[in-house]
Amino acid sequence: MKSATPNTRPDGERRKFLERAGAAAMLLSLAPGVRLVELVLARAEDQPVSAQMRWGLLVDATKCSEGCTDCVDACNDEHGLTGLGRPETDAQYIRKVGLRDKTTGKTHSLPVLCQHCETAPCVDVCPTGASFRRADGIVLVDKHICIGCRYCMMACPFKARSFIHEDLTDQVPESPRGKGTVEGCNFCVHRVDRDREPACVEACTEARHGALVFGDMGNANSALSQKLRELTNRQIRSDLGLNTGVRYHGI
């Protein structure tokens, strides 16, 4: 019997990590100009992700315009989410939600995606541990052990997950997807692991909307952390106390 919890790391590895942290501390004290970020940036492809990081996203709703779907299109493109003309069963990782305040009538438009919670309900309920939170805060489905029970979809407060209802062909190599498993936004791990931003963020930036800021919430110096200090922001369903990795400004 294996426990599929990814957080339980073998001791040797923890030791390695401590050694590395110690080395980092030494570097810091030896050369004040060298910062931890550079060391993180240098994560080689054969190094595991580190729990010192936490990937996060800030959505600036004031810069997000109604009718714009650049982020959604980029996501669909990146993950090969071509609809089969059945909106009720087609997968969506990110969607634009329109809001209208029932009292004041003020409207907003903003993207909703997996919120990458620190204490994710989907992770708690998953019987096999297929839903898991990676050390760096990204909530993922290990589709190799997903049995398709859909309990995570019942548990997710954000409707962030989709079930694949039929056979797929011609998947994108970087985003394997197949019938009978559950999936959702994965912050484009395949890109993030290679030091690239998620497709939605890249598209929003390239189109000069600047409504999405991605980065390391665990690092106080990251652009994201600075923005989060600068702009008032909130979490969706903050009443649940999930400490989400996606924050919203302007609603």
Binding site: V40, R134, Q171, K179, D216
Partner: protein
């Protein structure tokens, strides 16, 4: 008793030899030739252990974010897919293709290609993003800086 066993064994070996020597009966797998001159590990190690490498890599990548190319399933496609006369890729798990040939022979069933792509991302047929995918676009380089936030 022992003699009888030996006889049975001999008959068995002869039978096996006979069936091997008649390829018309049970054709031996002959996976198509790969591109490149060497596989990611010595060929006979690959022949015997490719599944272990793949399954190990799978957990390393999915749970720990390790992205080495050597045992990555996506990478197998680059060398082991074939193209047809018109230059289009043939799915790697199609009959007679590399990942199907031996498996059909030894009766191995695997579900990997229900999800995993069977052809490399074809630069001609894929989206405009492919320049960015190859990691050479300037946009990509500027991303790097923003993602990890090494601004002052």
């Amino acid at each position: 008793m022992r003699r009888r066993l030996a006889a049975v064994g001999l008959a068995f070996i002869m039978g096996a030899g006979w069936s091997i020597s008649t390829p018309a009966d049970i054709p031996l797998p002959a996976p198509p030739k790969a591109k490149g001159d060497r596989c990611v590990e010595p060929t006979d190690l690959m022949r015997r252990n490719h599944m272990e490498f793949l399954l190990h890599q799978r957990d390393e990548t999915v749970h720990r974010g390790i992205r080495t190319k050597k045992h990555s399933l996506v990478e197998c496609l680059t060398c082991h897919t074939q193209t047809d006369a018109a230059g289009h890729y043939i799915p790697i798990n199609a009959p007679g293709q590399f990942c199907q040939d031996c498996h059909a022979y030894s009766g191995v069933k695997m579900d990997c290609f229900e999800c995993h792509a069977t052809k490399p991302r074809n630069s001609a047929s894929v989206h405009s993003k492919s320049a960015a995918m190859s990691g050479t676009s300037p946009a990509h380089l500027s991303n790097l800086a923003r993602v990890v936030g090494n601004r002052p």
